[in-house]
Amino acid sequence: MGVPTVSMVTMAFNELATSTAFKKGMPGLRVTLTPHPITGRTTEESNVYLKSNDPVSGKPMLEQIVAGLRDKLAEQDKHAGIIERGERPRLLPPDTADNLQQMFQDKLWTDGLPVILPTEEKVQAMLKGTSHKPDEIVGEMRPSGPHEAWKFTVEMVATNAVMAGAKPEYLPVLLAIAATGQTSLFSSTSSFARMAVVNGPIRDEIQMNSSIGALGPFNQANAAIGRAWTLISKNLGGSGMPGSTYLGSTGNPLNYGNMTFPEAEESLPEGWEPLHVQKGFKKDESVVSIFSGWSFNTIAWFSPLPLQDVIKNWLTHFFSFGTGSATIILDPIVAVELKHNGFASKQQFADYLIEKSANPGWLYWSTHEEDYKKAKEGVEPFASYLKLGETAEIPVSRYVRMPPRGAPAGTPPRNPVEVLAVGGGTNLYWSGGDFSHVVSASIDKWR
């Protein structure tokens, strides 16, 4: 900005503010901390806070702000130039296996569980899973938009693949995931989860499980690929340091395996395209698709209503952090029943859900403040909606086709409801959650 600046941040983000200032090139940035949280505090409470001390420095808050804007700088704050990060050694210093395991844990290079130690021999064997050179740059990844991006090579991805217990034949899937630049540990206070869906011939080649228990701990490829994505995110994407590059307040158990599974393409009813074909790839291409969200419910609800309406009504009343998008995962026998009920394609069923899902009143008004003001002023149709009451359904879908948030102008609208199929057909189960499609990427280019 070019003028004296002070940042005010709540004390929960002290480490984040300090580390971000350093990484952005201003390690001396003046920061004043407030008690946490500030959201929801009244004017009276705010006045009490502001007349007290910065809870970390112990100095009077207002005086510290003014001093940060006014007082002459230290010499090191005026420096320009490059701050060295230290040499990155390819090999770590020799140690015993037990000590190395402990060091990996202590440095938060794992998911909290023991890893396969990545000896050079094991990494060399892993590299046989791709034709790409070990020193080729695969891409870059960051914990979220404001954070710095780290770069990484094929060999570095292979190293993390070994740690996760992957086989060499899984490596192209992991390289494709890594090349998307999508971390599985997106840094937000809201504890994001991610999902990876694999389509195409590679599902069978590496023996992934799309049948009974596909989302559970029953298959090496599903499990190891999902786990490796977390290790890649931590070690190659700079993610996952609680307090600085991970702020999820409660954390999310889905981050362990990242809901990694292959779509049950062969069990889809005729006319229902696999996900990668929906996204513009050929059926015989191998593709991984990344989804982002927070939570999932698993449901089998038997009702005299048609299945599509049970799902639609559930979607109307489903509430989670990300209420503007949804992904429905159907057991293939549910998909067959929906086809029987008249839905000739996945997209036709998705469109039905997008158009017919309504909003419970309490949710509609909490997400449409302007409409609420109009309703209070008697403006129609909002006034009539308000008369329906808080629990009634407002006939406006909350699943709206719009470009992804922050996308450049001209970006086509995303599909707010996605439909996938996986499972062993043991019952008419389906799952629903607030996940949205982020990107689909070729696996074949990394073979």
Binding site: V3, S7, V9, T34, I38, I82, L91, A97, M156
Partner: protein, 123 residues
């Protein structure tokens, strides 16, 4: 002869262990592993703006990044500073968009018309 048989037995056991993959490093044996970490970017240090030594007669912008439900605190920051430092002009202003969105027009305005900024807040 007895020693010869023992040697032969040990050799057979060792080879079979090798073949079945049951040979592991001794607990105190040191091994070398690959570094799992990626490549951090270089950091280009930005010199901080010179401070004036006094804020008397100066204009300071208080930039609200508009995190939900924090407006009373932002206004209180402005009012408390104005009461404690009346010789300085304190202007509170909203940044455009959400808290993640850049606002180059506002930064240009502050540089042209102001002498400093307080950027806040969140959560």
């Amino acid at each position: 002869m007895k020693n010869g048989k023992l040697w032969l037995l040990n050799t057979v056991l060792f080879i079979s262990a090798l073949l079945t993959g049951t040979v592991t490093a001794a607990p105190d044996e040191k091994i070398t592993v690959m570094n799992p970490r990626g490549i951090m970017p270089a950091i280009k240090q930005i010199p901080m703006a010179d401070r004036p030594g006094s804020l008397d007669g100066k204009t300071i912008y208080i930039v609200d990044t508009k995190f939900a439900n924090t407006k009373p605190f932002v206004i209180a920051v402005r009012d408390n500073l104005a009461a404690a430092y009346p010789k300085t002009t304190w202007i509170s202003i909203d940044k455009v968009g959400g808290y993640m969105q850049d606002d180059p027009n506002l930064w240009a305005e502050i540089k042209a018309k102001g002498h400093g900024a307080i950027v806040l807040l969140g959560h």
